[in-house]
Amino acid sequence: MEAVLTTVGAWTLRSLRVTGEISILSYQIGSALLRYGLRWKLFLEQVCFIGINSALVVITTGAFTGAVFAAQVHFQFVRLGMESAVGPTVSVAMCRELAPILCCLLLAGRVGAAMAAEVSSMKITEQIDALRSLGVYPVEYLIVPRFLALMVSAPILTGLALAVGIGAAYLVAVPLLGADGAPYWDNTVKFTDPSDVMIALSKGTIFGLIIAVISCHKGLNPQMGTAGVGRTTTEAVVNSSLAILIFNFFLTFLLNSLFIGQEG
């Protein structure tokens, strides 16, 4: 019993400490942005790395997710005589859940891992201390450009995954599986509200923020040694992914009430 209590106590303390550290880092990012402004060159480099270099992966994921989801929905709905509902079902699901979740889980794996690895390596090899010794605030130089680049890129990539997913779903449902194109598209447009797209983009932005803060926090507080960089990177990806999934639950209710209303 004592061992269980000790473990629970240690876990609680650690969780509180990490929550506190992440809150402080978030405050430091905000205040550094206000005080020092943005280093545009570094920001654009990060946008390029996160946005442009991730586009192909996101397009592939969006396309195949939309395609597979359309096929599965089509197979079930045909049996119920609801073939015309395939388009809006896929579209709304892509907007509200699939595009932001899958896109940002990919970003957590690709970008979050890279951020955590790069920042933790810099910490371990004293490069962050070297920055400080040269009178440069590491949060302003390293973290703010990454944070903003991810917050800008994540919703754009989510939008890209969404558009490609809906397009791929159309191609699978209509030319491949023989659904009637006109009602498919009419119903898709009719039942997909702009608020659904807003939900997708809002989730993308918030998930981008989550990935950036968790990955940079992990990078700034690494486990030491070469193996430590690996563990830090893994933890950044796992924690970001879990946080995305957990926050998604709460965001679903919050954004639904904000954009659609309780009955929506």
């Binding site: 005080r35 004293e126 490069q127 201390d129 070297a130 400080r132 010794s133 009178g135 440069v136």
Partner: protein, 251 residues
């Protein structure tokens, strides 16, 4: 009398262990100080306090009349730009070329003119005997070259005080000797004070105007290189001559 750098009663504990137990130290302008002591004895921790990278549990670090221990990160920056530091492993920015590493402190100081940047980088690389290495990445440099570039980066902003953390560790004797000469040359050319922490006695004798021996978190002995050489204290002599007793050998 006010000193260029004065450390009073500096205490620091890390992970429950008391690393510094009330250090007192002073440095005059242009003076070269060497702090010797065993590995893990708190020498690097001392340097990090001087640069404000660590906050003391007690005591003060006063640089040119300002107590750095009371300043926050932002307020420290103008002082940090007057203090250069050579980190133990160089700490070069590995995603940047040698040129970018050297330009970085100048750009942060507001030097924007391309001609001046180029001139200062060329000059710094010549001082450390590495002309023409501008476009290399740190990964393409040897250990000694990395130290030289790091030294050039630390000195390019013309600091008033240079801190050297184990500058010759991991280098062969020839390269180590050239680094020692470089430290002396830089001190004379730029007329800056230096604090070198090392356990390399050859380096220490070659560089020091005055030496401190750090033993278990306290300064056990202070004197000129000559006084250290002639000191009859067995503890000091054991360190200076690199002798271990049975307990040390087992450890």
């Amino acid at each position: 009398m006010s000193h260029f750098l004065e450390i009073k009663g500096l205490k620091k504990s890390l992970g429950g262990a008391e690393i510094l137990k009330g250090i007192d130290m002073h440095v005059q302008e242009g003076e070269k100080i060497v702090v010797i002591g065993r590995s893990g004895g708190g020498k690097s921790v001392l340097l990090r306090h001087i640069l404000g990278l660590m906050q003391p549990d007690a005591g003060s670090v006063t640089f040119q009349g300002t107590n750095l221990s009371e300043l926050g990160e932002e307020a420290l920056n103008p002082y940090r730009r007057q203090i250069g530091m050579l980190f133990q492993n160089g700490a070069l920015f590995d995603s940047m070329s040698v040129r970018d590493n050297l330009e970085f402190p100048l750009l942060e100081q507001g030097v924007k003119d391309r001609n001046e940047l180029s001139h200062r980088v060329d000059e710094a690389l010549e001082v450390v005997d590495l002309p023409g290495q501008h476009e290399k990445l740190p990964a393409e440099l040897s250990g000694g070259m990395k130290k030289r570039v790091a030294l050039a980066r630390a000195a390019i902003g013309r600091p008033r005080l240079m801190l050297y953390d184990e500058p010759t560790t991991g280098l062969d004797p020839v390269v180590a000797d050239s680094i020692n000469h470089l430290i002396n040359r830089l001190g004379e050319q730029l007329k800056m004070a230096s604090i070198v922490v090392t356990h390399d006695m050859e380096s220490a004798y070659m560089i020091a105007d005055r030496m401190y021996y750090l033993q278990e978190g306290e300064f056990y002995f202070e004197g000129t290189p000559e006084e250290v050489r002639n000191c009859s204290d067995p503890m000091v002599q054991k360190f200076v001559q690199g002798l271990s007793d049975a307990k040390d050998a087992i450890m």
